[in-house]
Symmetry: C2
Subunit: 209 residues, 2 copies
């Protein structure tokens, strides 16, 4: 298909498609003339994945490129790819390692990980994201809610992660596994967050409405 | 305290504080001379809340202003405030109502809500966020993972929401309740998302590492 058809079928504008081509997120089409190229269904599928990462997953173009480069690396073990996907979705944190409140929050995360018997790398960006959320809740005087909810957050995390990882691993094809890791990490978060808001609204209406 | 002390104690730069003052997120200090004002601990606390919403919660300045205006409205019922907080954290979606895939995803969310016996407004932005995540996962051919995980996401959402809402409601002071709704919605999401990534990493390492 021509770039116009690719645009129509993907609902992504031609200038945006050209931008992704320039930025290397999308591979070039097959040249048919000096200024013309044709695109395949694989381009359409890739374009949908790019939009999913950026629109639904709220990844920056740079983060999406990083994830797609990993997807395109043949033989990259899915567990390694998970690290790349996690790096891309994690909220950036600039901790102050000398801040006692920060160190206390980081210790609290470490203790939680021991209690749950989770095995994670010391380099996981999610460690900092969790510590920063805890540090901030305590700095804002929200200790009661945090202490009441921390364990149940971890329990919910365990519940969904076990099912998600099993679903992806049960795919036999490595390419499909890789795709599942990326989309599951990014879109699963958007879905879980949305359902939590709906459940909160329902529960809040029941107790207060 | 002077603006310099407020900056030092909050670790927010003076130009950023002035920006929040201009934008109305932070109320003016008490004027002591033509070009000087003093700020109180309430300003410091408010500044921490602003940074929490923007840095950890990833809210835009406009969304943070919307939430803070609701926090500042005396007598606003907490259940109503929850709607404002939800609006601010929801990921914007521009659905195409004529797209059959979008309508199917929206029906899937409606069916899930009936199964869980959740009572939510038809206007909840989280309905669109959930439908968009489902539509995208299906468009990307991730039906197997979605079908395997949708119910467990809802179960996890119920689990955390019940505890979160109860913790906030058990506060007697309305102002503290309001603060709990806002911080719990925004920071709880960051914390839950981070713990899910850690649990995924641990489970993935166990099965694949």
């Amino acid at each position: 298909m021509r770039i116009g058809d690719l645009s129509r079928r993907s609902q992504v504008s031609v200038p945006t498609i050209k931008y992704y081509l320039r930025e290397g997120l999308l591979s070039p089409g097959e040249a048919t003339a000096a200024n013309q190229a044709v695109y395949s269904d694989a381009h359409l599928q890739r374009l949908r994945l790019i939009r999913a990462l950026i629109d639904v997953g709220r990844l920056t173009v740079a983060a999406a490129r990083e994830v797609l480069a990993a997807v395109d690396t043949p033989g990259l073990p899915p567990h390694h790819l998970l690290g790349v996907a996690h790096h891309a979705v994690s909220r950036p944190v600039r901790p102050d390692p000398d801040d006692p409140a920060w160190r206390a929050a980081r210790d609290e995360v470490a203790a939680l990980i021991r209690r749950r018997d989770w095995h994670v790398s010391d380099e996981s960006p999610a460690l900092d994201q969790a510590a920063e959320a805890i540090r901030t809740l305590r700095a804002l005087g929200q200790d009661d809610v945090l202490d009441e909810c921390l364990e149940v957050y971890a329990e919910a995390a365990d519940l969904v992660a076990a099912r998600e990882v099993r679903a992806v691993v049960s795919r036999q094809d490595p390419a499909r596994m890789v795709e599942g890791v990326v989309t599951g990490t990014v879109l699963g978060e958007a879905l879980l967050d949305a359902l939590r808001l709906l459940a909160q609204e329902s529960e809040s209406g029941r107790l207060l409405g």
